[in-house]
């Protein structure tokens, strides 16, 4: 595709991207490049920071843990967000505004405030355990555990799943489901065969957002977790703050970046594959 085609014959006002592009370029890509360079050039030119990383069992354990937590959170937020977004498209305007407000207020609230609130909720003498006790169940120890971190992160990241799901569902023609049922499909079959495939882009967008964000999450796991379940961002924190090992932190950051890009590529592939299958079916 040539440049002309993309802008349909008129020259795009290129300068429009300069302010934002410059900002991102100077304050993100340049430092990123410098940090990457340091991970290869210090203490001497070579791959030593990366070979050290590969030989470090702690880094491996933490990397696997980080991906497990990110997968769990992604699955949970999509499962919880899907019906919520679906209901949002089905109710009247007033209820929809209310449901949207609930999501947005949770979204706009300070991350720090949310994380501190979870400390109160999760602690041994907190409201969650009071509730369990009131229900006659035995109290659980959550603060400082992986379960506690996961719970807190699911809440914090839920809006990132709901919003893309909702945006996608809004574009789906409401008459498709009745049409499928009119042609003899049971409601559940119509949903699985017609509605669900159309929401795949939303599921993909939401999952990717949540997954990538959880891979690099720092504040919530740091406040709700313990060193016994630290995630990759905390390990990077140890390298920067405690070891003053900027090259090592750069190597960890670069590995996370590469793995994230791999995940995005695989997900994009998967999404394309799903469309292709559907096109063949049709």
């Amino acid at each position: 595709m040539t440049k002309k085609q993309t802008v349909q014959g008129r020259r795009a006002p290129f300068w429009g991207v300069l302010p934002a592009g410059g900002l991102v370029g100077v304050f993100f890509f340049l430092p990123l490049a410098l940090l990457l360079w340091r991970s290869f050039s210090e203490p001497s030119l070579g791959l030593q920071n990366y070979t050290e990383l590969l030989g470090d069992p702690t880094a491996k354990t933490i990397l696997i843990r980080t991906f497990v937590v990110a997968f769990t959170i992604t699955a949970a937020t999509v499962l919880l967000g899907y019906p919520y977004a679906y209901v949002m498209t089905r109710v009247g305007p007033r209820a929809r505004t209310l449901l949207m407000a609930i999501v947005l207020i949770a979204f706009w609230n300070s991350l720090l405030a949310k994380s501190f609130a979870w400390i109160i909720i999760l602690q041994d003498s907190g409201p969650l355990n009071d509730l369990l006790k009131a229900l006659g169940l035995s109290p659980v120890h959550l603060l400082g555990t992986q379960a506690g971190v996961t719970l807190g992160m699911i809440q914090v990241l839920l809006p990132f799943a709901i919003l893309p799901l909702y945006a996608t569902m809004l574009t789906i023609d409401r008459s498709l489901m009745p049409a499928a049922q009119g042609l003899g499909a049971r409601r559940s079959v119509a949903f699985v065969k017609v509605y669900l495939p159309l929401t795949v882009p939303g599921i993909m967008a939401g999952s990717l957002l949540v997954f990538v964000l959880s891979l690099g999450f720092y504040i919530t796991p740091d406040l709700l977790g313990s060193p016994q379940n630290s995630l990759l961002s905390q390990l990077i924190g140890v390298h920067v703050q405690r070891l003053l090992d900027f090259p090592g932190a750069g190597a960890l950051g670069a590995s996370l970046l590469v793995l994230t890009l791999v995940v995005i590529a695989v997900a994009a592939r998967l999404a394309r594959g799903l469309y292709a299958v559907r096109a063949k079916d049709g």
């Binding site: 100077v26 041994d124 003498s125 740091d222 390990l235």
Partner: protein
């Protein structure tokens, strides 16, 4: 209610340290002003400690010597390293710890001028080429007075590990330098005089025996919250935080027989444009008047033997004074050893906790 935030900002400011790095690398760092010797920038760790320092030491110094004093925080070590490396030093005096100044004396820190700084009445073992003590602190055991009656309460390092006799969660710092390794070795029967070099493998093995009973804290606020909410029954922490919790109706009692003695230091970043003023300030702040005024208001103690303890009984109860150090034979943390071994210890600790 009094909140003593000593190292509060240390962790949350990773982002700050990162952006300082970015600025320095991109060559866009805002420069400190050059030359003039009547200015001083002090970097501390905020909270009530710095507030009281400001009131009892920094402001009176500014007035008396006609110096324009600026305060900032947090005095992140990572940030300082970036400043010195990029030759863009905007801090003149900082709140530091011995493991920073020891191995980096002459490279990241200026040697102090002891013709200006008078260390009479300050214990020799706390003074080094690049640092003098700022105030006295401790990492020590506190037990919940509501759970353990006097006489049935923990009294030794070993009691910390006896989870049958003294049930409940144990609070410790996420930071290995805070003293968990020393705690474990002393509990395991190592004599204080044989403590260093630390046998960290033995220490981690000992800690491993009660790994499920630990609750970790990273900031003083978190530490205090864990005591106030009853999340822990025994805390290895700072006197200022047990004091803060006591003010909010928690009652964590100090175990002076299990005290690891630590102290913050004054240090001067290498390449500061206000070297002379920095030396003058340090000499002023460790003087008898400013030290007494500080120690009267917070439960951290004066560094001089000629300063009397606070007149406030609550502060006096928690302050780790030089007299108590003598009386209870505090074990002093060997910051020189820590300075040489910190990287190895951080790695071993991270592997043990997270692995």
């Amino acid at each position: 209610m009094m909140h003593i935030r000593r190292h509060e900002m240390r962790r949350l400011s990773a982002a700050l340290a990162g952006s300082a790095l970015v600025l320095a690398l991109a060559g866009c760092g805002g420069g400190g002003d050059e030359g003039s010797s009547d200015k001083l920038t002090y970097a501390g760790f905020g909270g009530i400690t710095q507030e009281v320092q400001s009131e009892t030491q920094l402001k009176p110094f500014a007035k008396e010597f006609g110096v324009k004093v600026t305060e900032t925080q947090p005095a992140e070590f990572a940030k300082l390293k970036v400043m010195v490396e990029s030759k863009n030093v905007s801090w003149d005096v900082i709140d530091g710890l011995g493991y920073m100044t020891g191995p980096n004396c002459g490279t990241l820190f200026e040697p102090l001028d002891f013709d200006v700084i008078d260390t009479t009445n300050i214990p020799d073992d706390m003074v080094s080429k690049c640092s003098v003590p700022m105030y006295l602190s401790a990492q020590m055991l506190f037990y919940n007075g509501k759970e353990f009656k006097e006489g049935e309460a923990p009294t030794t390092w070993a009691d910390f590990f006896d989870v049958e006799k003294f049930p409940g969660k144990r609070g410790i710092s996420k930071d290995v330098t805070a003293g968990a390794l020393e705690l474990a070795l002393l509990a395991d029967g190592v004599k204080p005089e044989d403590l260093y070099p630390l046998d960290y493998k033995r220490a981690l093995k000992k800690l491993d025996t009660i790994k499920d009973h630990f609750v970790y804290w990273s900031t003083g606020a978190e530490q205090q919250q864990q005591m106030e909410s009853g999340q822990v029954s025994i805390m290895m922490g700072w006197p200022g935080r047990a004091y803060g919790a006591a003010q909010n109706d928690a009652s964590f009692e100090p175990v002076w027989g299990a005290t690891l003695f630590v102290f913050d230091v004054f240090a001067v970043p290498k390449g500061t444009p206000h070297l002379e003023t920095a030396m003058k300030y340090i000499n002023y702040a460790i003087g008898a008047g400013p030290q007494a005024a500080f120690a009267d208001k917070v439960p951290y103690a004066a560094v001089r033997s000629d300063v009397k303890p606070s007149s406030d009984p609550m502060i006096a109860k928690f302050a780790p004074t030089l007299d108590k150090r003598e009386q209870y034979k505090f074990v002093t943390q060997d910051m020189e050893w820590w300075g040489d071994n910190i990287d190895a210890m951080v790695k071993a600790w991270t592997a043990w906790t997270a692995g």
